[in-house]
Symmetry: C2
Subunit: 246 residues, 2 copies
Amino acid sequence: MPRLKCIVAYDGTRYAGYQVQPNGNTVQEELEKALAKMHKGEKVKITASGRTDSGVHAKGQVIHFDTNLTIPPSNWKRALDSMLPPDIHIADAEEAADDFHARYDATGKEYRYFVWNSREPDIFRRHFSCHVKIPLNLEAMKKACRIIEGEHDFTSFCSSRTDVKGSKVRTIHQAFIEKDGAELTFIFKGSGFLYNMVRILVGTILEVGRGEREPEDLKAMIEALDREAAGKTAPPHGLFLWKVDY
Amino acid sequence: MPRLKCIVAYDGTRYAGYQVQPNGNTVQEELEKALAKMHKGEKVKITASGRTDSGVHAKGQVIHFDTNLTIPPSNWKRALDSMLPPDIHIADAEEAADDFHARYDATGKEYRYFVWNSREPDIFRRHFSCHVKIPLNLEAMKKACRIIEGEHDFTSFCSSRTDVKGSKVRTIHQAFIEKDGAELTFIFKGSGFLYNMVRILVGTILEVGRGEREPEDLKAMIEALDREAAGKTAPPHGLFLWKVDY
């Protein structure tokens, strides 16, 4: 039975996150509904690279599933896309190796977090970026980014609601900020990320940008191995799962 | 009684247009509700530079109203803004002359229309730009823009549902297209615009871009003085009322 790998984009605004759960509509549910329609009502099990929280978006979520349909791989993208609501889009679909696994085979991920830094809001970005009214110190935030790069135990930057029981050591290959007018883009590339890790990192770096903390404070925060040491969790709607590497 | 002039931005997605009407929620209604709250339930009459259709957005709609509240003009922006839903924003508020009129004193308007020209949709722009999958001929569309510039009778580019009974002669000072990757921005600056005029112009220019019409065909279309001669009306969600001049 061939295995399909798909790249999925979604606007997370009206979803209770990626993963199926008792309350609320989820992205996975929409994908499962669409696949069930294509498979004459039969349930198709979907595996994603990981979950995303309520309100978080994706440009490049990756999923896999097995199918007995005899659709040529080149037609899968359009066939599945046409069954989905306008806020979920299949950006790519291809046949994968029988043992490809969207979660276990991921070697790295990229997340991006968008901040609109201006006194005036941009209402047209309100679901896709976090509005910060007071001027942020970009140089200080860039310094903070350099401190978090590398291999660290990120316990301080992991929500206490995590279900990770093993090591919280992760490697951030790159953490940097791009500025385009009032729009700041925080880019994080790493081996893997803990629950809420990017949002806690951004929330903390924004505190540095506001002058409430010094960039150097991040060293002690990492060493504390205590969620209480780090800053607030930034809101979900600025965050995008941008890319998954295999 | 002082007269206030406000610049209003709105995301038109969930509104049945600007102007109050029997069915559906409108931007004007939200503004009136907010002003009534501020005026102890008293109804405040609002006049706008013009209406916008269902799904059409505004960066710079202008309204005026009279008020007997003793709020300093510098506090009006925040006071009114705080009463409005997140998809309507007061970008500016100032005291105007007693005889200022948002509609009659307008000397010109700027509209922008956004097209996302790529095989792939950008789901994050789906409410704010019109997706055109097939490649468009930019040079041909630029030629078409130059033909519509100047003073013309735009009867062919006016919806038959207009309530304009007089002259349909209008002057387009500038019509041009900016390209930034897959995003095309159609910019129209003119003395005034008829009902659906920008959307019919864009719909027609897109037919030129697709090779279905020649740029020179626009001359005959203008001369025909017949709505049937021009192209289709482009969808509302790509359109922004960008600026009103006084």
